[in-house]
Amino acid sequence: MSTAVKTEFQLSSGVPQGPLAEKWTSHKSKIRLVSPANKLKIDVIVVGTGLAGGSAAATLAELGYNVKAFCFQDSARRAHSIAAQGGINAAKNYVGDGDSIYRLFYDTIKGGDYRAREANVYRLAEVSSNIIDQCVAQGVPFARDYGGLLDNRSFGGVQVSRTFYAKGQTGQQLQLGCYSALNRQIARGKVKMYSRHEMMELVIIDGKARGIIARDLITGEIQRHSAHAVVIASGGYGNVFYLSTNAMGSNVSAGWKIHKKGALFANPCFTQIHPTCIPVSGDYQSKLTLMSESLRNDGRIWVPQQLEDAQAIREGKKSPEDIPENQRDYFLERRYPAFGNLVPRDVASRAAKERCDAGYGVNVTGDAVFLDFQSAIERYGREQAHLQGSDESNPEATMKLGREVVKAKYGNLFQMYEKIVDQNPYNTPMKIYPAVHYTMGGVWVDYNLMTTIPGCFCIGEANFSDHGANRLGASALMQGLADGYFVLPYTIGDYLADDIRTGPISIDSKEFEKAEHQVKSQIDRLIKQNGTKSVDYFHKKLGRIIWDYCGMSRNEKGLKEAIEKIKELYQEFQKNVFVPGRANEYNEELAKACRVADFFELGLLMTIDALDRTESCGGHFREESQTPQGEALRDDENFMYVATWEYTGKPNSPKLHKEDLIYHDIEVKSRSYK
């Protein structure tokens, strides 16, 4: 059911001329505008209501556009941005530690291992300050100090404190902030909200995105919705791994549908494996839980120095407290003294894997390392005792004080850990292991955040643009809100300026007819197929293949094997998946089957992309390309480009287009955190 796509793309990023620091300002003042009166005649569809989609829908409505917003959750508030924990970066320099827009830009480019587009990242750093102002004005209750001013903390891969936070629930508070802005526009009638609706297809008329086909997840009704532009803000594709820190419903389908209709998909193999997650405990496991990176501000990561000790811990014969200080290997502090426990995620994850592969893992499965708060509790305890003028030499009293400080900072995370693992992390170190968390790859967009389909935009995690090959902590929230509040609402006008005379888009055209038919026949096939295996059976198997061969470490042989395995499993899925129930009712299995079908095709593209990129960079570690010390080795001469893939009608043979990355304002260096 492939549709014809253009064969030649002129990949133009549309980055404006002029000095880096002036590009965004001059672009904003030069792009075309749509007058307030004309905005009232223009409809925009936004798919997804997380930080990017929710903030875009609200802002577009404030500006006067008529917005239709869609989410598969039962309420816009529940989009997965809500689960982000640690914080949001902004170059405010409130701390006075030398932070600046340039430094945030520099850290983000370096953190992404020089695989992100320079001008987009600079713009992100530039608008970051505004985000904090906006959120405070909306009533987001960020953490404050006793002077009543905003507090900051530090995150991985940087040497300043620029992260704003609300305990370990920053994503929740920002999400509720943009949900409130959205609600205000729903109340005004400027946003029509469709919750429990899933986008099933993009409708293109005369080469322009003009609407979507959606499925009402309660009634199963297939609906046509038209608009002058379509914005995809559907988040990342981490659930291709089955086990990830994403919500159960998070999926790639909206992004994948537009890819199949002509939007290029960029750097699919750039996925982020987050170092601090609760380890897998059994094969019934449905998801993994993140322990915020902020914990690495105060937690120290270690394994025993001696193999025998590690084994004794695994067998339950020793506990971590039995291992004396000089017998512990704080491997991040040892390998990366300049950044210590706060190295970027990809580096920390690989180092943990290296220790566990070498036999030093500390839980039953051998896949876990310790994250220990003992020294922080002691340090804070002494500090508090000193402040209160109490006895600093009484260890029990100081530990109690220390625990209170740690509780105030990370209480909800500690509680979460205890509920899942049934161990108290105030008394014994957490056990953690890397897990899939974020996807840097995504739909290719230009400087205006438009895909290669005119009128189809893509924002937030769903696009590829800002994080290169590795995202730094607290930057996802920043990007989501930057795109939705401060970038897209302006850049979309440049496109919509042509549509002021178009008038309402009819849903009775043959294009809508055809797209609807396509959706209905896919659903029909799934329902009628008398297979024997559940959707989850296939999803788990697919996830295992991707994790084993396209996870933290990749090589040519494994990737080639993975491609064959995915193809084979996909064929079996198409013949043998069993979807109970009917099409026109609440049917979660059906919704899952449609999503997993797209994960198969995306998984194939991921492995093809990983095979093609024979260098290591960021989260993409090719075993063939490493330094003698085992660090990732980039190949700038051959791979300093964005790999963008065109759908050719056959998932097995996508076509590669390259966007060369050129850095004018930053010196390209090898990335070192030593």
Binding site: R78, K92, V136, G139, P141, A143, L150, A247, D422
Partner: protein, 244 residues
């Protein structure tokens, strides 16, 4: 461990529901409660039966999607957890576990254990916001210092996940805790003062219109709230309402 389940099954909003019994053997106590339901559904699907519909998404206690009334309590027997954070180690071999949807007039059943909580959204739409546009020209975030104690209290109120446990736990199906949490978040901040009177009036009116019951101060909502939202918020809302 082996367990028995008594689960509310209801085909759709209009049909009449009833309890069905199921037995599950060799359940790993380390499983989460929802993973136990996954196992049940996998078995139902493989025997060609319709799986039990239940709401869930993040499975880490923050999105507020999961619900379930377990053995007569919203989110099950533990305090300060959502159903997705409940683990089977909390139950014993041989237990019978009764699972119902959150019941309230304002939360109609969609299917089995899935209910429609759009009434909560409509209450928020009636005033749960500060009227500020995204101009990019708002004043600097540190322009107004806010006492830490106020900011912390505001945060605690804002931690509500909108799951509806307070309503399900209340014998009157009152939504006072939910509404008061939002009212309090803004009432405690200077940014929220400007339209505070209008906000509380509109939100309370919408709450009544949705068919939620009255508060009779039993405090069940506070006990069952997975985020520990305090009853003090209800007192604060009442004060705001009277002043308004």
């Amino acid at each position: 461990m082996d367990i028995k389940l008594k689960i509310w099954r209801q085909k759709n909003a209009t049909s009449k529901g009833k309890f069905e019994k199921y037995a599950l053997n060799e359940i790993n106590p380390e499983m989460s409660f929802l993973e136990m339901l996954d196992v049940l559904n996998e078995q139902l699907i493989s025997s060609g039966e319709s799986p039990v519909a239940f709401d869930h998404d993040c499975r880490e206690g923050i999105c507020g999607t999961c619900s379930l009334f377990i053995n007569g309590r919203a989110h099950g027997p533990d305090r300060f957890v959502t159903t997705c954070q409940l683990h089977m180690r909390r139950f014993k071999h041989g237990d019978t576990i009764t699972i119902e949807p959150f019941r309230a007039k304002a939360f109609p059943v969609i299917k089995d254990l899935v209910v429609d909580r759009a009434s909560f959204d409509r209450i928020q739409q009636s005033g749960g916001y500060i009227s500020v546009n995204t101009s990019g020209n708002t004043q600097d975030a540190n322009a107004i210092p806010i006492p830490k104690a106020d900011a912390d209290l505001s945060f605690e109120a804002a931690a509500c996940i909108g799951c509806g446990a307070c309503v399900a736990a209340c014998k009157n199906a009152s939504a006072m805790l939910f509404v008061s949490a939002k009212v309090s978040q803004y009432a405690l901040l200077p940014q929220g003062q400007v339209e505070s009177k209008r906000r509380v009036k509109n939100m309370v009116a919408q709450m009544d219109e949705e068919g939620f019951g009255n508060c009779t101060n039993t405090g069940a909502c506070e006990i069952e709230c997975p985020k520990g939202i305090s009853l003090e918020n209800i007192a604060r809302m009442n004060r705001e309402f009277i002043l308004g």
